[in-house]
């Protein structure tokens, strides 16, 4: 007797026996409720099932076509996705199948592993961002930003949102996409020499913002003046949402301590593969006063009937399965495995390790930047201080630089395209702790040749 399919245990005999128990003679009768006229009158036009080794080879062929893998091209690209060290210990622990193959902890008595790991994740993110409450994760940096703006509009009661141009262009695009549904009025506030210059506010005015959204560091790596943004919020009653780079916070003041009401960020850099962009990790923390507007899941500590410490998803009355159309958000499944991964990675880094990581990034970035701007025709985009990422103007189109540098073994950075008034000559460069002096020297040499 053979089994029915690769991952289906039933033998043909068992299927026949089960059908007999149901008083049926063919499998087809199970689908009697499906009107004949609608049914697919042919098989799916897909290849027949293949052996696992064949499929691995097929997928491996795709993998081989990707020239930009980080073990072939040394990665100097960032923009919210960074080539950091992922230690073996993080891979091993985050790959444990109890974490990988469970689902949302609906039955907390048998889900304390995930629940406690997420509780620890929330604590780590709250400490990092300098705010008392962090949620159990959102999809990515863009979705966390959208949710933060939704919270800000609900809390302020005003739907005008001042969005710094220094927010990741993709995140701004997603904000605009979602605003078609929510009706938020987005107003982009431009950068001047790398940092946001907020308009003067006449209060009250029709254009009075309900939310200010700013990056720290911003997309171009520059450090914004958070106290200045806070002052605009104090004048207008707007909420301050800061989109941050969590690795940089190893050195920088936490935005929550500088007056942000909500802090969001991309958490990929804590143990998650570059993976061509997903799955990543949306980070979200807020002030205590906004906890009942928090989007997504939240784990809280409690006790069981014997008084032992236990964890459970809480403030569930915010969520869509209970509140339906009045929920604070539609987020249900989030990125829990990436949150658990981040908790493991932050545990591995620890207090001293995160500071060391950020310092190493800052040193490598300074070293690279100084060497690059010494090349004729290459200039710094701005003078504002940076931590781990910076933009330069290139004498030839940045796309061409990336193309030529790939031949030399480097992913040179991210061309800024038509953004930020660089006329195709802007290149965003990130340098992580993985890059050695020799690698950077080789990169700079190749860069000089590429733009010559």
């Amino acid at each position: 007797m053979k089994s029915v399919g690769t991952y289906i245990p039933h033998t043909d005999d068992e299927v026949a026996s089960m059908l007999a128990f149901l008083g049926l003679s063919t499998i087809d009768e199970l689908f009697d409720a499906v009107p004949e006229a609608l049914r697919l009158q042919r098989g799916l036009e897909l290849a027949d099932g293949a052996g696992e080794p064949d499929v691995l080879a097929h997928m491996g062929a795709y993998a081989d076509l990707n020239l930009a893998r980080n073990d072939r091209l040394l990665c100097f690209a960032g923009g919210g996705a960074y080539d950091h060290e992922i230690p073996a210990v993080t891979k091993a622990l985050a790959g444990r199948s109890e974490f990988v193959t469970s689902y949302t902890p609906y039955q907390p008595e048998v889900a304390q592993g995930v629940l406690q790991a997420v509780f620890e994740f929330q604590t780590l993110i709250a400490r990092l961002f300098g705010l008392p409450v962090a949620n159990a994760s959102l999809y990515d940096g863009a979705s966390a930003t959208v949710e933060a703006v939704n919270l800000g509009v609900a809390a302020s009661g005003r739907n005008t949102v001042w969005v710094s141009e220094g927010i990741h262009p993709h995140w701004r695009q997603m904000l605009a996409t979602c605003a078609a549904g929510t009706g938020h009025r987005l107003r982009t506030v431009n950068l001047v020499d790398g940092v946001t210059v907020w308009p003067r506010v006449e209060v009250p005015s029709d254009d009075q913002p309900g939310v200010l959204l700013v990056g720290y560091p911003n997309y171009l790596g520059c450090l914004e003046d958070i106290p200045a943004a806070r002052a605009v919020c104090d004048d207008t009653g707007a909420l301050l949402v800061v989109a941050t780079d969590p690795v940089s916070l190893g050195l920088l003041k936490s935005p929550g301590k500088s007056g942000a009401d909500v802090v969001v960020g991309e958490g990929q850099m804590f143990g998650t593969d570059l993976g061509f962009g997903g799955p990543y990790l949306g980070l979200f923390a807020c002030a205590q006063s906004h906890v009942r507007r928090l989007p997504g899941r939240l784990v809280g500590e409690t006790v069981d009937v014997e008084g032992r410490r236990a964890y459970v998803t809480t403030l569930r009355a915010r969520e869509q399965d209970i509140r339906r159309e009045k929920a604070t958000s539609n987020v249900c499944t989030n990125q829990t495995l990436m949150a658990v991964t981040a908790a493991i990675q932050l545990g591995w880094l620890g207090t001293a390790g995160l500071a060391e990581l950020a310092l190493r990034c800052a040193r490598a970035t300074r070293y690279t930047r100084d060497a690059l701007v010494a090349i004729g025709g290459v200039t710094a985009y701005a003078d504002a201080p940076v931590v781990r990422e910076f933009a330069v103007r290139t004498p030839i189109p940045a796309d061409t630089v990336v193309e030529r540098m790939a031949d030399a073994g480097f992913l040179a950075g991210i061309p800024l395209g038509d953004q930020f008034n660089q006329g195709e000559h802007g290149l965003l460069i990130a340098v992580t702790e993985r890059r050695t002096r020799d690698e950077i020297d080789a990169y700079v040499t190749a860069f000089a040749k590429a733009v010559a």
């Binding site: 029915v4 991952y7 039933h10 199970l30 689908f31 009107p35 697919l40 799916l44 099932g49 052996g51 064949d54 997928m59 795709y62 990707n66 020239l67 930009a68 893998r69 210990v89 444990r96 109890e98 990988v100 193959t101 949302t104 902890p105 039955q107 008595e109 048998v110 406690q116 509780f119 780590l124 997603m174 996409t177 979602c178 549904g181 916070l249 050195l251 003041k253 936490s254 570059l274 993976g275 962009g277 906890v291 899941r297 500590e301 006790v303 339906r324 159309e325 009045k326 929920a327 989030n334 829990t336 495995l337 591995w348 620890g350 990581l357 190493r360 796309d399 992913l411 991210i414 050695t436």
Partner: protein, 519 residues
Amino acid sequence: MTGTNPLNGPAAPGGKATSAPLLGRDTEPTLFELSHPGRRAWSFRTTGIPELNIEELLPAEHVRSEPVPLAEVSERDLVAHFTRLSHRQFSVDLGAYPLGSCTMKYNPKVCDAVAALPGLAGVHPAAPASLTQGWLALMVEVEETLCEITGMAAATLQPAAGASGELTGLLLMRAWHQAQGAPRHKVIIPDSSHGTNPASVTLGGYEVVTVPSDARGCVDMEALASVLDEDVAGIMLTNPNTLGLFEEDIAEIAAAVHKVGGLLYYDGANLNAILGVVRPGDMGFDIVHMNLHKTFATPHGGGGPGAGPVAVSERLVPYLPGPRPERVEDGAEGKPTYRWFTPERSIGRMHSWHGNTLVLARALAYILVNGGDGLQKVAEIAVLNANWIRQRLSGTFDVPFDRQCMHEVVLSSRNLKQAHGVRALDIAKRLLEEGFHSPTVYFPLIVEEALMIEPTETESPQTLEALAQALEQIAYEANALPTGSMTEAPRNTPVRRVDEARAARTLIPTFDARGEKQA
């Protein structure tokens, strides 16, 4: 009371998780309690880069005065901590997980191997198309495959989960209606729908109109007709619906909604039931989201990551989010190339990058191993397993809609509640003691004391028998033992019944809040 066991044998051991945990039920300290000043696990590359001081790198006003207090543990303690936590966690790999609506099927390990390929896992998402041809080609194959399975014209792979797919679909609906003149104001949802549907409708800028289910558990056609007008943007349905029943009138529903100019949205949560049998596109749907973590076996990750691609009919293709990957038959040596393009009337973007791409790769590997023929078998056995459970337990629990179901069955324990005060929640907790994950309880909302069981196709007949016997035993106890004894469960789990009310009343969302609440 019990049906005849058709398998002529005892339930096999192995479907249950009764062998875990290894030892005792002590609580595990948090990372912060394990922390000891000066311990460390980290190590970095030797780089030779000049070691400037922080004062030389950054202006003082930006620099924090103290390091972020995380935790200080050794690698050995870190490993022990998270390994112990993993022992306090039920999972598909440990035992049967018949959580209705979630499709907790086995997650093949070959898909993990695919996701770990350095040529997929190590690629930066901003690398240009010329250097990422493999990823673009892979995504095009995913899109084409999903379109064949659903009977649609094109798809976006950006949405990161089902709810994100729903919002994407609603924004597509809005953009399409807007192009016809007005976005309209209302979206219809059955009362049996997932909670994400109405939440997404609100975010899409629409008002929710709920239609009731009829006595057979399907959309009440008269009620539907009474709310249909030219202000209805569309209807969101899942078919089979959340009662596990196929909406037999789907062609009539589609015709009625289309007649007033509305669009049909298909919630793909239950797609596993109909793979290769009937396609949403052929049923008349205009927009379809899929949950790759359900139907296509990508691991659920304790609550994500998922992936929620959205496929659409021809007329909605120009509105899809961008950029999208496409194949260009440029003829050079007959080899196609791939590039990004953004549809002319695109609604914009729904992800930081291109979607949960490594999840897409896993799903494609799963589909390729199964093949077109194998996917149909997946649906057939999923439906067979659910019906077997329905029949097997129909003398033990109420079956509110007692006819052939699809991939899941909704039972009701209202008889036990009325007679003995035993609730669905108690049954769920008691089942945990038997080594099974609980069914989904109290959903759909329209069934009293609902127990929603979705066995999936990957559980063997022996495991189903063991599950049925466990549920029979619980029903027997509810009838025979003193009222209230069931509320003691679970007794052998890492913690016992958890005080959820206290968690909400005295909110402790972080380790630091614990001290504040106790102080």
